[in-house]
Amino acid sequence: MKILLVDDSKTMRNIQKGILSQLGYTDLEEACDGLDALSKVGAYGPDLLLVDWNMPNMDGLTFVKQYRAKGGKSPIIMVTTESEKARVVEAIKAGVNNYVVKPFTPDSLADRIKETLAKVPAA
C-alpha cells in the first residue's frame, strides 16, 4: 500500500508517518504542498492520499480538483483545521473521500484510514 502525505508541516507529516507505521504501512511518500504532490502522483502512483487544506503554492482543495480532473482515482482523506460544514461539503464535492479535523488523536486518524480503505473496492 503506497500512501502520499501532503502537508506543509514536516511535524504533521512525521506524526502521520508514525501512525501509519504503527498500522503497518511503510511505503510512504511526502509532498510539502499541492504542486509538489501533483508532480509526484504520476511517478509514485499512491493508493491513498492524506491531504492538508491550507498550504502555500497550491492548497489542498485545488490539488484534489486537479488530481481528480487528471483521472486520479485513489481515495483521499482531507486532514485539516477547516471544520465548518460548508467547507466539508465543498471538499467532498471536489472528490475527497473522508475528512479528519485537526486536532486529532492518533486513534481517530487510524480509524479514518481503516474506514476509508475498507470502502475502497478491491483492485
Binding site: T11, M12, I15, I19, N54, T81, K102, P103, F104, D107
Partner: protein, 488 residues
C-alpha cells in the same frame, strides 16, 4: 712332482671372494687354463665370466718365476640390508620441543623479543579422526650370493612394534588415527589418547592449560596461571592467584588463595575447601567446606557451607544459603545478597530510571495539553496543529510508558521466580553484615545468635524462624535488622 697341487685357492671367510694363488716357484710352463679351471672345479667354485677373464689374463701374462701372484678369481655379492619399519609423526608433538627455550607454542613477540612462558604448552590435544602418525612398513633387502653360487639371504627387516591404546586405531595404510578427542600420550612403546588432561601441577613446566575436556591437576596451580576446561576441572593442590574457567564442575580439594587476579567462572557446581579474595561466578551450587573470605561472587545455585563462614566481600546467591557464621566478631563489612539476580537487577534499575524519565515527560506534555484544552473552541489553525502534535506526543509517551512498565514487570517476575529467599545460619549473624533481600537492604546492628532462618512464606512475605522452631515471625526481620533502603 705334481705341480698343479701347488696352485691353490684362498676363499674368504664370508665366502664372497676367492683368489687363485700362484706360488713363486711354480713352473710357469705348467700353468694352463685347464689346470686353473680344475682347481676351481675341485673346490666347487662357480666358473663365471669374471673367472674366465682372470684365467685368460693369467695365462697370457703369467707372473715371472720367483714372484708369487694372487689372482682374484671369483666374487660373490653380499646381501643388502633392508629398512626396519618406523614411525613417522604427523602431529607436531609438544614434548619434541618442550626443552627448547623458545618453542613454537610459546607466544613469542618478535618485536619486543619477549616470550610468555605462561603460554607454553606441554601437551598435545588431538581431535577424533585426526591422523596422529604413520607406521612405515619395513623394506626387504636384496639377497646375496657366495662364490659357490649359493644364495645368501638378506636379513629380515623388523616391523615397527608399538602398542596402540583403545582410543587409537591403525588403518590399512598404516595411519594411526585418534578415535576420541583427547590428549596424546606417546612413548617408544605405546600411543594412546587420554580423554582427561592430567598434570602434576600447573606452573612453568606446563604453562597455561586450555583443553576442551576434563582436566585433572594433581598438585597446585601457581600464581598468574590460567586454566580453561571444556568439562570438569579437578584440582588437588592449593590454587594461588590464578584464573580458572570450566564449563563443568570445579572440584578443588584444597583452597583457592587469590590475591589480586584470582578468578573463577564455573559452569557447573563448585566444591572447594575455602575461597579467599576470589572473584567470579558459579552457575550451579557452591559447596564450601570452610570459609568464603572477601570474595566478590555470584552464585546461581545454592551456597552451602553448614560448618563454614562467609566473612567480608559481596556474595549474591540466587538459591538457598546455609552458613555457620555470617560476618565476623570484628565486624568486617560483609554483604550477602539473596532473592536477587544482579544482572537482571541492573536492567531493572535501568528501566526504573527510564520510567521516571517518561513520567516527568508525561507530566510536562499533559500540562501542555491542559493549557491547550482550556482554549478549546478558540484555537487558531496553528494552535489546532500544535494540539494535534501534543496529542500525538501524549500517545507516544503513553506507549513508551506502557512498554517500559511491561518490561519492568516481566523482569521483576523473573527475578521473583528464579531468586530464592532462604537463608539459614546455624551459628551467628554478626554485626556489620549487610543483608539484601530482594531490593531491600538491611544492616545487622547487633549480632544475632542462631540457629535462624529467613525465608519467604507462602504469601511471599519475608519471615523469620528462630532456633529451628518452624514458627514464622512476620516483620521480625525489620525488628532485628535495620532497613537501609528500599528500591522504588
Amino acid at each position: 712332482m705334481d705341480h698343479a697341487s701347488e696352485i691353490h685357492l684362498r676363499i674368504g671367510r664370508d665366502k664372497l671372494a676367492a683368489s687363485l694363488i700362484i706360488p713363486p716357484d711354480f713352473p710357469r710352463e705348467m700353468l694352463s687354463r685347464e689346470l686353473c679351471l680344475g682347481t676351481l672345479g675341485g673346490r666347487g667354485i662357480a666358473v663365471t665370466k669374471f673367472a674366465n677373464r682372470a684365467i685368460d689374463s693369467l695365462i697370457r701374462t703369467p707372473p715371472p718365476i720367483g714372484e708369487s701372484r694372487t689372482i682374484p678369481i671369483a666374487k660373490g655379492r653380499a646381501p643388502t640390508l633392508g629398512e626396519n619399519g618406523r614411525l613417522e609423526w604427523v602431529v607436531d608433538r609438544a614434548e619434541d620441543h618442550h626443552e627448547e627455550p623458545v618453542s613454537d607454542d610459546s607466544k613469542h613477540d618478535h618485536e619486543t623479543e619477549q616470550t610468555s612462558h605462561y603460554d607454553r604448552t606441554s601437551y598435545q590435544t588431538i581431535k577424533a579422526n585426526e591422523v596422529i602418525a604413520r607406521i612405515i612398513k619395513p623394506v626387504q633387502g636384496e639377497d646375496g650370493v657366495d662364490v659357490f653360487g649359493i644364495v645368501i639371504p638378506a636379513a629380515e627387516p623388523k616391523a615397527y612394534a608399538i602398542k596402540l591404546g583403545p582410543t587409537v586405531q591403525r588403518t590399512s595404510d598404516g595411519s594411526v588415527i585418534a578415535l576420541v578427542d583427547g590428549i596424546l600420550r606417546a612413548s617408544d612403546e605405546a600411543i594412546t589418547i587420554e580423554p582427561v588432561l592430567e598434570v602434576k601441577g600447573v606452573d612453568f613446566s606446563t604453562g597455561n592449560l586450555d583443553y576442551d575436556g576434563d582436566i585433572k591437576v594433581a598438585g597446585p596451580v601457581k600464581d598468574c596461571f590460567e586454566i580453561h576446561a571444556g568439562g570438569v576441572l579437578e584440582i588437588g593442590g592449593l590454587i594461588e592467584d590464578a584464573k580458572l574457567e570450566c564449563k563443568g564442575d570445579l572440584i578443588a580439594r584444597s583452597g583457592f588463595a587469590a590475591r589480586k587476579h584470582g578468578e573463577m567462572h564455573v559452569g557447573g557446581n563448585c566444591q572447594v575447601r575455602y575461597l579467599n579474595q576470589v572473584r567470579g561466578d558459579v552457575e550451579g551450587d557452591l559447596l564450601c567446606e570452610r570459609e568464603v573470605l572477601h570474595c566478590e561472587m555470584h552464585v546461581r545455585g545454592a551456597l552451602r557451607s553448614p560448618t563454614g563462614s562467609m566473612v567480608g566481600g559481596t556474595v549474591s546467591v540466587q538459591g538457598a544459603v546455609e552458613l555457620s557464621q555470617l560476618g565476623s566478631e570484628a565486624g568486617v563489612k560483609t554483604q550477602l545478597i539473596i532473592g536477587s539476580i544482579p544482572n537482571l537487577e541492573f536492567f531493572l534499575n535501568l528501566l526504573d530510571g527510564l520510567i521516571r524519565q517518561i513520567e516527568t515527560k508525561r507530566t510536562a506534555v499533559s500540562e501542555k495539553q491542559r493549557v491547550l484544552n482550556l482554549a478549546r473552541g478558540k484555537l487558531s489553525a496553528q494552535q489546532k496543529e500544535l494540539q494535534t502534535e501534543v496529542m500525538f506526543e501524549v500517545s507516544s509517551v503513553d506507549e513508551q510508558y506502557r512498554k517500559a512498565c511491561h518490561a519492568r514487570d516481566a523482569i521483576d517476575r523473573r527475578i521473583r521466580r528464579k531468586a530464592k529467599v532462604d537463608l539459614t545460619i546455624h551459628g551467628t549473624m554478626h554485626s556489620g553484615v549487610k543483608l539484601n533481600i530482594g531490593r531491600t537492604g538491611y544492616l545487622c546492628g547487633n549480632s544475632i545468635r542462631g540457629p535462624l532462618r529467613i525465608r519467604l512464606n507462602e504469601e511471599n512475605k519475608v519471615v523469620f524462624e528462630r532456633g529451628g522452631s518452624g514458627r514464622e515471625e512476620v516483620g521480625f526481620v525489620e525488628k532485628l535488622l535495620r532497613p537501609l533502603y528500599r528500591a522504588a
